[in-house]
Symmetry: C2
Subunit: 320 residues, 2 copies
């Protein structure tokens, strides 16, 4: 599947309502999967989105406020009951491990699959995961407690062979990898075919950035730029900017400003205060600065197709 | 409201599904309210059942397995965010307080309303709450960790004045309380009217017993008897009795047997293993021994009217 897909399991702020769950997102890039934050009830949301628990391998926790990780220990307990054996990789603030161990100890629960903890760097951008296709960095945000954003980016993709040339010149299969990587090709007579003649431009790699909870960080573009999709919290409207500052959150206008500074292609906003009954005003405020904004609506899956790069929005199967 | 009412917020065992939530019940007897256990997501279930958070005053936690208390700290955090001032009384095993304090500390959360902890007695039946109208006792169950059942019983109610006699004899208002409490009455001429002539039998007080999780405890009737409503876990069918024993749970047949021993009037069973896709077989198994059995269905409210004592079952408003 040639896509980037983001399922919004929850995008409310600290007080959950019947239809507003605390933070949790499930990200797929290519064939790799990441759970971002894990508020209370995330395991049930995963089921409602029909996301198999076997896809859980990497879990990033932005910070240790309850609405971002109270669902983690219950999820681990369930994985244990379901007889998981595969290791699980957890990325978060320093105290995440002790938070988990304490809760497991007190409930007399034993986790028998391997748990690996990566403590995030509070000072600088840090490469926290790398695979054949992907790099993930964490970077510090500003929220009063240790708090982190995450940037997921594919590595540059191989150029594509031109099929017509491939057939015309009878290039041996063994050579194709080198050519895709950028090499020219010499035929048996010694004639040189420059790479640009043999291949097509590689599709642009996908990238996604996740920033919650935070005051606007004006230098965020030093950590990443031009994300295809950019989630930034927008807890308040500008009219409540004072409250945003006190609680170390952002307004919708500020989220939009940061998206612009980072040259994001598409902004998603969420983590709204329950004081707002509708999200329309928040969306409109962000759009004034950054027109390409959408609401990170709980129960929806956002995806980008490799070719078209259009944002698709799809409602998950009705709950139950 | 002259009733006993029990809302089933969750009645599943340890692995939650989309439509099966972990243990939590909300009990009303007369004008007093109790939350019994608090699995993950209980605060959202309270909202879905339209139970106002101001009714939360007493929370009983049967034991410290996650499916019975992972929702408690998130609920406390929400109460704090909602600016609660009223004290909250928590009843549970010895380690409950440290479990809560640890989680609050790590999330940098401060609870400013008073939290009172009552450590339950692991050896014997214990009076843990008493009001003008009600007594609540805890008693030990058998589940490998400290685990408790709870028995709620109204105190004997005052006898009712016969309205016809009240009017005929012109009894002064000041005398009525004494007569309701059982006194005879002398009129101005010294004529004695025996209490039985003046009053009607008091309605029988309500009682409710809650027992989860536990192996069958054959001596449970020493702690209470003849509950109007009796909830007993029935995690397994008899064909899985071996598994029930290993995990220190009960079968539906065992729950029914205990209900019979305790002379319960109505049995509710729940805490079913997710291995059972339907509850029908569990219900049938219990009914073989104890015909007056019902499933403690999540999303339903069970109530008894003072006069008729009939069990009413009502579906809560459809979620969302």
């Amino acid at each position: 599947m040639e896509l980037l897909s983001l399922s919004i399991l929850g995008s409310s702020s600290a007080v959950p309502l019947s239809d507003r769950s605390p933070s949790a997102q499930f990200l797929q890039i290519g064939k790799e999967y990441f759970l971002l934050d894990c508020g209370e009830g995330t395991q049930v949301k995963l089921r409602q989105h029909r996301i198999g628990f076997s896809r859980l391998k990497h879990i990033m926790i932005s910070h240790l406020h309850g609405d971002h990780f109270y669902g983690l220990v219950p999820l681990l307990s369930t994985l244990q009951l379901l007889d998981r054996h595969a290791p699980l990789y957890l990325y978060g603030p320093k105290k995440l491990e002790v938070a988990i161990r304490q809760q497991l100890d007190i409930t007399d629960a034993h986790i028998s699959f391997p748990l690996h903890f990566k403590v995030l760097d509070t000072e600088r951008k840090d490469l926290i995961y790398e695979s054949e296709h992907l790099k993930v960095h964490s970077f510090p945000l500003r929220h009063g407690v240790d708090c982190f954003g995450f940037h997921f980016e594919e590595k540059p993709l191989a150029r594509k062979m031109r099929k017509d040339v491939l057939e015309e010149l009878s290039i041996p299969v063994a050579e194709i990898r080198k050519i895709k990587a950028g090499a020219d090709w010499h035929d048996q007579k010694g004639k040189v075919y420059p790479n640009a003649h043999l291949t097509l431009e590689a599709p642009a790699p996908f990238s996604y950035a996740y920033c919650t909870d935070t005051l606007p960080v004006k230098h965020l573009h030093r950590y990443f730029s031009e994300p295809d999709l950019f989630y930034h919290e927008a807890t308040f409207l500008s009219k409540d900017a004072q409250r945003a500052k006190q609680t170390q959150h952002s307004t919708a206008a500020q989220a939009a400003e940061i998206a612009e500074i980072c040259k994001a292609k598409q902004l998603l906003i969420g983590h709204f205060s329950v004081r707002y009954k509708s999200f329309q005003e928040l969306l409109e405020e962000a759009k004034l600065t950054f027109p390409n904004t959408a609401i990170a609506l709980e129960g929806y899956r956002f995806s980008l197709d490799r070719k078209t790069r259009d944002l698709q929005i799809e409602k998950e199967n009705e709950y139950r």
